[in-house]
């Protein structure tokens, strides 16, 4: 009986922590999926640019002892700027049909951005400001971290803001038009390049939120974060369905929660194996993601 109570409490706690932290995976996944939805191309730099944005915010914290909210804001602006640069370097002038060239350009940019951060910081872990990091809400046997709750709330607000932008503004209408039928959108007078550039900026802003929320929830920033966050973002994007924003949101929570459950039940050496297995299961049985209809097969 004690064992059942123990496992129930621990697994529930693992799910709570996982879902809260998984909201950052959702944000990264949304960024990947937003750009894929608009251009049908994968921007591999996305997580690196998000974390680089967080490092830009950290400059304000280190040099001017800026408050956390200003640091987050600087991260959002920085990441949006990096997003625009990445668009011009890796996508704008590469022929539309050459998907591999754009993919490889963005892979190159990923490592380039990462090395810039490494050289600028000597790869030292640096303290990143967090809000409510000393708050722990205790509900019976469960504990909820105040900083993770804040991260979760900010992530939800960002997702709501993105939804508003996509479905209630002219830019959102243009973005959706370009993503659905680029040529038709162009014939309707929409500037496709400008819209794509704006999509990179919006995705970059979201990345800035993600980068700073990852920094805030971990409490430190390190270039070590780039590759795992990139991989998690891609997994979330695929499980959620490429191009599906609701899918990325749910997949982020799902991956965060399952990761913690596998860690608790099977240990760290097997945890990632099960997440990869989950990805494999989705690719085989539900290749278009969580909210897809029946997929056609070869």
């Amino acid at each position: 009986m004690d064992d059942i109570v123990f496992y129930t409490v621990e697994i529930t706690q693992s799910i709570i922590d996982g879902v809260l932290f998984g909201s950052t995976y959702s944000l990264i996944g949304i960024g990947f999926t937003l750009i894929f939805g608009a251009m049908h191309k994968l921007n591999m730099t996305y997580a690196a640019a998000s974390l680089a944005g967080a490092y830009i915010g950290l400059v304000f914290f280190t040099l001017f002892d800026a408050p956390a909210m200003l640091v987050f804001l600087a991260a959002i602006v920085g990441s949006a700027g990096i997003g625009l640069i990445v668009y011009y370097i890796c996508f704008r002038y590469i022929p539309v049909e050459n998907h591999l060239a754009a993919l490889m350009a963005s892979v190159g940019a990923l490592f380039f951005i990462d090395e810039i951060v490494i050289h600028a910081t000597n790869a030292s872990p640096l303290t990143f400001p967090a809000l409510f990091d000393d708050v722990m809400l205790e509900l019976g046997p469960f504990g909820i971290r105040g900083d993770l709750l804040f991260v979760f709330a900010v992530s939800l607000i960002s997702m709501a803001a993105l939804w508003y932008l996509l479905y209630r503004t002219r830019l959102g209408l243009a973005t959706r038009a370009v993503s659905q039928q680029g040529i038709a959108a162009q014939l309707c007078g929409i500037d496709v390049h400008r819209t794509n550039g704006a999509t990179f900026v919006v995705a970059g802003m979201l990345g800035g939120v993600a980068g700073s929320m990852i920094g805030a929830s971990v409490g430190i920033l390190s270039p070590l974060l780039t590759l795992p966050i990139t991989i998690k973002g891609l997994i979330v994007t695929v499980i959620g369905g490429l191009g599906s924003i609701p899918g990325a949101i749910v997949a982020g929570f799902l991956v965060g929660a399952l990761e913690n459950i596998f860690l608790f039940v099977r240990g760290v050496n097997e945890r990632d194996m099960y997440i990869m297995l989950l990805l494999f299961v989705f690719l085989v049985f539900r290749p278009h993601g969580i909210f897809s209809r029946r997929a056609e097969r070869d």
């Binding site: 872990p125 303290t127 990852i214 929830s217 860690l263």
Partner: protein, 424 residues
């Protein structure tokens, strides 16, 4: 007439300038230079280790050169030059650099690499036994400053290390902790399982040393865990709560630490995840009587990342600025853009060792004597019984090519590493 005088003056001036340049060039050419090569992680997430080693090497070389240089076998004085290569933390890159330095440069000796995994792979391409005609491995002496995993230098007779001896350090640490904390009985811990040094030292060295001095694993314990190095390491790892180097969420592991209610917690990891784990322990309000860390975390990186949360953590280290020379090295390293810690400070000692061996072995430092000079350097390194360390005399364990370095125990206090015990 005036014009021709001007021309003659100009020509004479030019001749004087050219003459001076030629004389200066020949003087430079005749100045003996001992070429050294270093390599470590200058790119990738462990860049700080390479930066620190290079900074200390440069500071040490500058100090030797400023003092007149090295006396060579024929009595001539030579200056030291250094080429530092980036081997990242990548075994293939480390092997490629070692091959290049040994075959394409005039380097007398190599110093590096950063990562134990790279060292283990790289040392494997060196000739195992000196003079073995059937072994065509590299015949080039290496003196390592950073890669610290236990027992690597014995892979080849050409490879030597001046790195801390962790079994000795942790044995003395737990002996001291036993005396100072007689009420502390139980222990629990975890490590980064994808990092050879963190994992190996935790499961094969730290836990056995702790058990040797009367600390027992919480609950039913680990019956297989012995008091000798590596005994019961697999079972100990299974019972620990572990993570990976790039992990970001430590809530599950910290809850396991909390449940354990151990008197002593061991966090055997590099600075990034040490900080991640310590922050989570603090959030979950876990306060052990004793908190022990990995040698590699007794660095500036840990304090930059989580000075507040590291408060109280105790680590044995072979470097601390506790005497005039060590303080000077720390300052000079900073001037060169790095910091001196237990890994990089060994680079200073290595330059002093190399100078000593060159002078004792009568090494010539000429291109035509390179092969002989390398053999003499290896023989000289193998013959050393003691060397001068920053914290005192370093004993050489020559059957293994390793060092027994003096060390102290430091504790994180108010954003600094303070020496809490000096067992020298």
């Amino acid at each position: 007439m005036r014009r021709s005088r001007l021309s003659i003056s100009l020509l004479a001036g030019a001749a004087v300038v050219i003459g001076t340049l030629v004389v200066a060039k020949s003087a430079i050419a005749s100045e003996r230079v001992v070429h050294l090569a270093g390599w470590g992680a200058k790119s990738g997430p462990l860049r700080s280790f390479g930066v620190n080693s290079e900074a200390v090497l440069k500071a040490a070389i500058k100090s030797v050169n400023d003092a007149g240089g090295i006396k060579m076998g024929d009595g001539a004085m030579a200056k030291i030059s250094l080429d530092y290569y980036d081997s990242a933390c990548n075994a293939e890159q480390g092997i490629a650099v070692a091959r290049k330095v040994a075959s394409e440069t005039g380097a007398l000796v190599g110093m590096g690499p950063t990562c134990s995994g790279v060292a283990a792979a790289m040392f494997g391409i060196f000739q195992k036994k000196v003079g073995d005609a059937g072994d065509s491995g590299l015949q080039f002496p290496i003196l390592t400053d950073t890669a610290v995993r236990n027992g690597l230098a014995k892979i080849s007779q050409w490879t030597f290390r001046n790195t801390p001896n962790e079994p000795d350090m942790y044995d003395k640490l737990f002996a001291w902790l036993r005396k100072t904390h007689p009420d502390a009985k139980t222990m629990y811990g975890g490590t980064e399982t994808d990092q050879g040094h963190s994992k190996g030292t935790y499961a094969k060295v730290i836990l056995q040393a702790a058990k040797r001095h009367g600390f027992t694993w919480v609950g039913d314990g680990i019956p297989e865990l012995g008091t000798k190095i590596a005994v019961g390491w697999k079972e100990a790892l299974d019972k620990s709560s572990n993570w990976l180097l790039a992990d970001t969420n430590f809530s599950v592991q910290a809850r396991a630490f909390k449940r354990a209610k151990a008197d002593m917690l061991v966090v055997s990891a590099h600075p990034f995840t040490t900080c991640g784990m310590l922050k989570e322990l603090k959030r979950q309000r876990i306060k052990p009587k004793i908190l022990v860390g990995l040698t590699s975390s007794s660095s500036d990186e840990t304090l930059k990342g989580c000075a507040k949360q590291a408060e109280g953590m105790i680590i044995p280290t072979s470097f601390a600025p506790i005497n005039d020379t060590a303080m000077m090295v720390a300052k000079l390293a900073q001037k060169e853009g790095g910091s001196a810690d237990l890994h990089s400070a060994a680079a200073w000692e290595n330059i002093i060792i190399i100078k000593q061996v060159i002078e004792e072995q009568g090494i010539m430092g000429k291109p035509e004597t390179l092969k002989t000079d390398r053999e003499k350097m290896r023989a000289g390194l193998a013959n050393l019984e003691t060397t001068a360390g920053l914290l005192g005399q370093v004993k050489r364990v020559q059957e293994e090519g390793e060092a027994l370095k003096p060390f102290v125990f430091v504790q994180a206090m108010a954003g600094e590493w303070k020496v809490v015990h000096d067992p020298r």
